[in-house]
């Protein structure tokens, strides 16, 4: 009994060397700060078409088009006529941005290509998302 209590007291007394853990924590912190991209997600995940020739794409502007051809930006639906100022603002926030249009399979071609045309007018490189 006496021996056990004495050991625990000495254990508490010894200082843990936290330096290696701190190193790891800092490295993790810096990793997450550097890789964090504050992307405004559209707020829905459309049922995108499949394609064989698709390629990986790293966008910073995400726009979704749902099956009733609403354009979703930052979790809000818009009509295509009203998105030009919003896209301009997004482009001005990140001038070197790449964009992706995540369109539903049932979306209208006119809407998808219209959004793409707007992006091209604004000088943003755009791709259309696939599964």
């Amino acid at each position: 009994m006496a021996r056990r209590s004495r050991t625990s007291v000495t254990d508490e007394g010894t200082e843990l060397n936290m330096t290696p853990m701190l190193d790891v924590v800092f490295i993790l912190l810096i990793f997450f700060i550097v890789t964090s991209v504050f992307v405004k997600t559209p707020g829905l995940e459309p049922f995108k078409p499949e394609a064989l020739t698709d390629q990986a794409w790293n966008p910073t502007i995400l726009v979704a088009v749902d099956s009733s051809s609403n354009v979703w930006i930052d979790k809000k639906p818009y009509k295509i006529e009203e998105i030009r100022p919003i896209l301009t603002a997004l482009r001005d926030e990140t001038p070197k941005a790449n964009a992706i249009i995540q369109a539903d399979r049932d979306a209208d071609v006119g809407t998808v290509m219209g959004v793409q045309e707007l992006f091209q007018d604004l000088g943003v490189i755009t791709r259309v998302g696939t599964e």
């Binding site: 936290m18 701190l22 924590v25 800092f26 993790l28 912190l29 997450f32 700060i33 890789t35 964090s36 991209v37 504050f38 992307v39 997600t41 078409p49 499949e50 394609a51 064989l52 020739t53 698709d54 390629q55 990986a56 794409w57 790293n58 966008p59 088009v65 992706i100 995540q102 369109a103 539903d104 399979r105 049932d106 979306a107 209208d108 071609v109 006119g110 809407t111 998808v112 290509m113 219209g114 793409q116 091209q120 490189i125 755009t126 791709r127 259309v128 998302g129 696939t130 599964e131």
Partner: protein
């Protein structure tokens, strides 16, 4: 000299790192939670800009195969009805008649996006260049 000694004393004194650690952990958790890892694949549907207006059109434009998809997603190749799945085979047959022809994909604005991606993907997969046009109620 005396100053240097004092500084070395300061170094040896234990700094209480607990508050800083708390902040670092909170930041770490914040960044882990807010991190968005995007894993997107995409196809390129962008079109080259139209040629300048003042430039005369080429004298002998290469022959073209026109695919039209109407608002009910009915496909036709050079005016002939076809199933959308059979468009690619039909284009290949047409290419035998018109060697070197370019393909124009013409869509009604109300056609479905999936049809466009399927056709464009199929043409790209076969190495055929194609151009996408969205037209209002054209014949």
């Amino acid at each position: 000299m005396r100053r240097a000694r004092r500084r070395s004393n300061d170094d040896e004194a234990d700094v209480d790192m607990t508050p800083m650690l708390d902040i670092v952990f909170i930041m770490l958790i914040f960044f882990i939670v807010t991190a968005v890892f995007l894993d997107e694949t995409a196809v390129d549907l962008t079109q080259p800009p139209p040629p300048p207006e003042d430039q005369p059109p080429p004298q002998n434009p290469p022959p073209a195969i026109t695919v039209y998809v109407d608002n009910n997603n009915q496909c036709s190749v050079d005016g002939l009805r076809s199933t959308c799945g059979g468009v690619l085979a039909r284009i290949e047959r047409q290419l035998a008649d018109k060697p070197g022809a370019s393909v124009i994909l013409r869509f009604d604005p109300e056609a479905k996006h999936n049809v466009l991606v399927q056709l464009k993907d199929g043409l790209d997969g076969r190495g055929m260049a194609s151009k996408i046009e969205v037209v209002q109620r054209a014949s």
